[in-house]
């Protein structure tokens, strides 16, 4: 189709391409009805274009994007053996794809096209007809000079692995796994805890339906546990991630559980006999657990695990109480960690959140005043599988009569987190409902500065519970206009109300709603998977509006509270969305189509300075220390061209935006018009 030509811009000083074969360019000027036609002298523009080098055909047409216009171009390409096309019309954002398809239909590589934007950036903004004509001529001149140097680009494809790794078995991870498995995708579901279900598994009821959490969760966990396409790796952590979209190689360390998951039935005989007691993290430290334990009643899979850090055997003592107590011989002290190598095409990170530590803001008295609890602690207190089996009582065993609920702890403040944690207003109302049910006489006071009740459910839920329960709401001036102190064995809350008046209240129990923030290990996870953390420690999405579940790393998706604070339904939606993104692009038997506009390295010119390696935001460039040159991974490259601009030897070129193409465009714009 077009002759052999030296790639336009290899080399330090060679900014002008060498065109060895006469190209046959067709220039089409779209009148766009009156839009372009009335703004400039179309005849003059056509005359000008006709006189340019390599232009063999110039036509003005009423509306090129219409079927007739497209047919005209396709017909001309064939009849006049056009080798390149310039279309002077609307913005390339409007119809570049349309005209590329048009070229393709006529057998011409779609990238041998250049659009001259003479509508949005000319006809519509230049009021003087003569000036508009001049600007259009310059733009067309640039397009003609540029298109001569266009290279035909092919959309490359690579083989890919359809299996998926899901990290985190909370609501988002489970939703992603089940959606993927529905389409018979092999899913490796990796969870660092010994059980599935994430934080939701430790809640009693969930808003706004007030269904019990296990009623929602248990059936889907059962589905996960018995799904032939989902391989569950609990008590496991990802150690290493290599590769890229379509072909990741992941090392997962499956920690020794010291309990055979096949034979253990979760009877708990081992737990009873264990002599070690440590703070129970599954109940937020409100009670103790043993060194061999089942996280909580109903935890799935219902299998015990030995906490090696605290078990006497690993402290050098010859204890084997659990092994002796086990009626099934399920305890295996010899078990060792196992490293699994997984090949997957895509990864979903659904690693959840943690709460802001309210002890960091001393005004809340958390950690100093016994009666101040976090929301997660309260979730366990009201939970029938929790430390008090669902009884709302203080650490001293007394039943509280006056309960304070404090909104926005560490959120919506410049000091800690600027963001709103989305769910706190709703779960505090849920707490009011739970208190009202369990302690009918108790009074509840909410301390808030703004209520966040968006969507179709929240306000109705709030109204309903407010009518039922004995709730007083105190409107504070700012989210942090509140302080707790202990005076004469009493907890005193002092706050500034919306009018600026200081007030005091003496509750028996205070429940804080600390900000949701990125999980404690989010930084480690981000480094491991080479993605970035954004505000609040949450993982950064590719685009907040249009790509909320993908990341800057192709093939690595994020879902649930790892991406930002959200409720259960939104987490489920994101898990399903991430699965959908994967199912639509990573199809078994199909190859993965790559971005045609990408960076290319001419290894002969590469001096191995590695400047590009450090600049690439996608880690797409690797350095070969034997050959002392770099290579671009086409799967990871997004074609931004940052490397090409930095390369001191001109060895890297951004295809379709080469030095030669762009310099010709500049000359075209300036030498005429």
């Amino acid at each position: 189709m077009h002759g052999t030509q030296q790639p336009a811009a290899w080399g330090l000083f060679c900014l002008t391409g060498v065109v060895s074969v006469a190209e046959r360019i067709g220039v089409y000027v779209c009148e766009c009805g009156p839009n372009i036609k009335d703004a400039m002298d179309i005849d003059e523009v056509v005359r000008f274009a006709q006189g340019l080098d390599h232009v063999v055909l110039t036509k003005a047409f009423g509306l090129l994007c219409a079927v007739e216009g497209q047919e005209l171009i396709a017909k001309d390409i064939l009849e006049h053996n056009l080798t390149r096309v310039v279309i002077a019309a609307c913005s390339p954002k409007e119809h570049e794809k349309t005209f590329r398809q048009c070229l393709e239909k006529a057998g011409l590589n779609p990238f041998l096209l250049q659009i001259a934007n003479i509508r949005e950036q000319c006809a519509w903004v230049v009021k003087d007809k003569a000036l508009a004509t001049d600007k259009a001529k310059a733009t067309i001149h640039a397009a003609v000079r540029r298109v001569v140097h266009h290279e035909p680009l092919e959309i490359k494809e690579i083989e890919c692995q359809p299996h998926v790794l899901v990290v985190g078995a909370g609501m988002a991870g489970i939703s992603a796994a089940l959606t993927l498995a529905q389409k018979n995708r092999k899913v490796y579901l990796v969870e660092k805890l010994p059980c599935l279900g994430g934080k939701v598994a430790r809640y009693e009821d969930v808003f706004p339906s007030l269904e019990c959490a296990s009623c929602i969760l248990d059936p889907i966990l059962d589905e996960v546990l018995h799904n032939e396409y989902i391989e569950i790796l609990t008590w496991s952590e990802v150690q290493e991630v290599l590769g890229f979209y379509g072909n990741f190689l992941v090392k997962v360390n499956k920690k020794a559980r010291f309990v055979d998951t096949e034979t253990c039935i979760g009877c708990g005989a081992c737990v009873e006999t264990c002599p070690v007691k440590v703070a129970n993290e599954y109940n937020e430290g409100l009670d103790e657990r043993k060194a061999i334990y089942i996280p909580y009643a109903g935890a799935l899979p219902n299998v015990a695990v030995i906490d090696q850090e605290h078990c006497l055997r690993w402290q050098g003592e010859a204890c084997n109480a659990c092994q002796e107590a086990c009626p099934f011989g399920a305890i295996i002290y010899e078990e060792t960690d196992q490293v699994r190598q997984l090949r997957v095409g895509a990864i979903v990170l659904a690693t959840g959140f943690d709460l802001f530590d309210p002890a960091r803001a001393s005004q809340y008295g958390y950690g100093k005043i016994d009666n101040v609890y976090t929301s997660l602690e309260f979730e366990r207190l009201v939970n029938s599988t929790g430390p008090t089996e669902g009884k709302i009582q203080l650490r001293n065993g007394q039943v509280p009569e006056k309960i304070a609920l404090v909104h926005c702890v560490g959120s919506r403040t410049s000091q800690f987190h600027e963001h709103c944690s989305v769910v706190c207003c709703m779960y505090l109302i849920k707490f009011a409902h739970q208190v009202n049910g369990k302690l009918p006489g108790a009074s509840i006071t909410g301390f808030y500065s703004d209520l966040c009740l968006p969507g179709k459910e929240a306000q109705g839920f709030f109204n309903k519970i407010s009518r039922e329960a004995n709730i007083a709401l105190m409107h504070m001036k700012h989210p942090d206009s509140i302080e707790m102190t202990k005076e004469d064995e009493k907890t005193v809350i002092r706050f500034t109300d919306i009018q600026g008046q200081s007030q005091a209240v003496i509750p028996d129990m205070v429940v804080l709603a600390p900000a949701m923030e990125g999980a404690r290990d989010a930084e480690t996870v981000a480094k491991l998977f080479d993605i970035s953390q954004g505000k609040g420690g949450f993982f950064a999405e590719e685009s907040t509006t249009l790509a909320p579940v993908s990341t800057a790393m192709e093939g690595i998706f994020i879902a649930g509270c790892a991406q930002g604070p959200k409720d259960i339904q939104s987490s489920v939606a994101q898990g399903q969305a991430a699965a959908g993104r994967i199912l639509s692009r990573l199809v078994p038997g199909e190859k993965l189509a790559l971005e045609p506009v990408s960076a290319e390295v001419n290894k002969d010119f590469c001096c191995g300075c590695k400047l590009c390696v450090s600049l690439c935001a996608y880690k797409a460039i690797t350095y070969d220390d034997v050959k002392n040159n770099v290579a671009v991974n086409k799967v990871l490259c997004r074609g931004c061209g940052v490397c090409a601009a930095a390369c001191p030897s001109g060895a890297i070129q951004a295809s379709h935006f080469t030095d030669g193409e762009l310099c010709e465009e500049i000359r075209g714009l300036l030498r005429q018009g």
Binding site: V125, V126, K135, G639, D659, I666, L670, R671
Partner: protein, 136 residues
């Protein structure tokens, strides 16, 4: 200097600034015809030699317009543009090219008004400065 109309080259990133320019067009907001646009995928693609080439070829002013910091479609390409801009300004001074002849600004896809403002300001400033004196 009466009647002098400067030639200005603008490198506009595909995702924000080029869209911003289009949105000014869609809103039919007139601005000086002096600007000639080169679309690049990212402001970080703008090689300093393109700017020198533009001045060499007759531009009186050059603009690099990219996404606002934090909004770059390619994470931080615009910050690379910012770094290069800082260095290039000093180099241009050594060539005897006034600093104001090169301008970097951030224009989002929705900021058609800002685009018009920036182009108008730049054109006005170039009119004040007059033609770029070339010694070759």
């Amino acid at each position: 200097m009466t009647g002098f109309e400067p030639k200005i080259i603008g490198f506009l990133c595909n995702w924000c600034s080029y869209e911003g320019a289009d949105s000014a067009g869609r809103a039919r907001k007139a601005y000086p015809a002096n600007l000639r646009v080169v679309r690049v995928m990212c402001s970080g693609r703008v090689d300093p030699q393109f700017i020198l080439e533009a001045f060499k070829e007759g531009a009186d002013g050059v603009m690099i317009l990219g996404c606002h910091p934090g909004d770059c479609h390619y994470k931080e390409g615009n910050l690379q543009a910012l770094k290069r801009y800082g260095v290039l300004k000093r180099v241009l001074g050594q060539f005897g090219i006034e600093e104001d002849r090169l301008r970097l600004d951030w224009i989002s896809a929705g900021e058609g008004d800002k685009f018009v403002q920036v182009v108008s300001d730049m054109t006005e400033r170039m009119r004040q400065l007059g033609p770029l004196r070339r010694s070759y």
